[in-house]
Symmetry: C2
Subunit: 405 residues, 2 copies
Amino acid sequence: MLRFAERTRGAKRSAIRELLKYTEQPEVISFAGGLPDPATFPLEFLARVAQEEILHNAVKSLQYTTTEGKRPLREALSRWLAEEGIHATMDQIVITNGAQQGLDLVGRVFLDPGDAVFVSLPDYLGALQAFRAYQPTLVGVPLEEDGMDLEFLRKAIREARRAGHTPKLIYTVPDFQNPTGIAWSEEKRRELLEIARAEDLLVVEDIPYRWLRYRGEPLPTLASLDEEGRVLVLLTFSKILAAGLRVGALVGPQDVVHMVVTLKQGADLCGASLTQRLVVRFLTEYDLKSHFAFLCRHYRAKLEAMLAALERYMPAEARWTRPEGGLFVWATLPEGVDTARMLERALAHKVAYVPGQPFFADGSGANTLRLSFALASPEEIEEGIRRLGTVVKEEIAALSLAQRS
Amino acid sequence: MLRFAERTRGAKRSAIRELLKYTEQPEVISFAGGLPDPATFPLEFLARVAQEEILHNAVKSLQYTTTEGKRPLREALSRWLAEEGIHATMDQIVITNGAQQGLDLVGRVFLDPGDAVFVSLPDYLGALQAFRAYQPTLVGVPLEEDGMDLEFLRKAIREARRAGHTPKLIYTVPDFQNPTGIAWSEEKRRELLEIARAEDLLVVEDIPYRWLRYRGEPLPTLASLDEEGRVLVLLTFSKILAAGLRVGALVGPQDVVHMVVTLKQGADLCGASLTQRLVVRFLTEYDLKSHFAFLCRHYRAKLEAMLAALERYMPAEARWTRPEGGLFVWATLPEGVDTARMLERALAHKVAYVPGQPFFADGSGANTLRLSFALASPEEIEEGIRRLGTVVKEEIAALSLAQRS
């Protein structure tokens, strides 16, 4: 009885979210979560404006709002994004329940079953999940130190077409991607847009970590380089204000935004007025420059602690990324190591991470892992990576023993 | 370029939401919106707990939460629902972004293209929109004064099966339905469950107005009468606390809730922690009995003003419902009157309503209209219905003139 729809067949929960339960034991130093540090949330400001909004602006803060989101929020976003070279009018912006709802709405508006979607190997798990609900063919493209392998991408598009799939969109997090921390070079950003133009594809540019750059100069967003209106931008205030507000936005050509709003009506009618009003106040009253500088100082110390500790404690066989921003470092262990299996050993040593395989659309990457440096203190990071170094060395030793026998 | 998915073909925006723009002119007395009265929101309480939660409980109120929603909220809901005879453990509850997201998730989990979904004529527009995204066949069943015409429903199920559709679910708002205000009799509630059992169908029971009963005794929820786990309950705090929080819930059998949570991960990861915390505090600290009694007194006066004014000012040819709760009265004018066309005349007379046709899955109902009494004062209601009476009389006169010529 009560038969589920066909689309539920392949549906599975995020292995990561399930794993997190086991990493929350006391004394475990966890690099597993993808959460921002609550110590960065501007509590005094949010408490004051929440109280003001509820007491003195209830019709705006506690009544339903429009499906596209509050007008002052879209206006403030329009002004703010212009600083990133993203020129979008209010009508080109729809407020979403975090960037995750933006991903779902992209799938809803654009994906027919069997359409080809190009993602990185590895890529943000939430994007893979969101797209999978619309039954596309996910095509994985290897990620290099400066962005996707674009030769591979070109070939993959041609092959998808030959196999009868409709290449529809390329998904990318060009600034400090989750899970790798990698940022795309400007050359690759430009080349990606050329490919999208030549092949008539949509580009989805997800920029949750863009304002968390700790070294080097910002690179142009894909949207700022786009002259044709084929880039959709997804952003969120989860990492730069507070994750529990669930306020994000989708920014793009007006006809696309119009269709997104049409389908969002059925999906959830509108977002929460209260949290949208808090973000309006943040964008228009808070000192954003100082706040972002504070965030960058805060996380830079943690990133540097992690990179120094990796250098000190990891065996020669391990490799890892050296991000200039974001919340994650990505490690690759020798072939044959299974980081999902190794997690048990890690928990015995009171350290946790996320095994990398779920981030690979093609099911590869069993020897990889993601380390978040956002929540632990620099001292805990040093100690946690020391423990992890021991774990990795033990695992490699056990592996070569097993291979010899 | 940028081809939309097949499912966008039939997508259209709510005619009502588009119409509302024109009803917001000054001096117009509007019965059009479906909004609760902000005068009923407990501002002092919400302002105080919002401040407390942000300042002293930031890790719970401003960090990500779980996809299924905050544990204390699901616990509090479980206790509260038991008073309605709905016995659900924490694991049978998922928090949604209003009841609207619950509707979308029901569609996502259960509907394949072509499945038959049975709705009332007329029915809640948001439900029709949510289900349509999954391309089912919507089958309209006439609504009588005490609930659906169940003989018609039996036949419609058989006919759908004969036509090759899979009858999947029956959607209903048994307490003071939007748009009609009608409540189902206990007999029909029981009979509906029998039909669902005999035909192996899911029942979706949407109860946003259940706590807004102004006369008579509460009738049992479908869920409380259900012995087989085939009723899913959707609820929301939009009408009984504050609409701008967007906190609702889906309650049902554990395997269904498990699948809903799995698909919700991809849809929006999780709801807003802050607004969920406010509802936890409301359920555990506020005097709910007094609050609901206050809501009922507040709205009862408006409903009575509207029914008295309709009696006084509407022509003999008009009929309307006499609800015992909710926020809406539903009027039916003589055949041939087109209430969408009549709206122009109404706006000229500075009164607004919602034309009824969009609420009909089969496109009928051109001579019907919905009146919300939630926002206007009793004095405004009297004056607005006086104006509407004039409009209706003029329209009927113009119609019979046109028919004679």
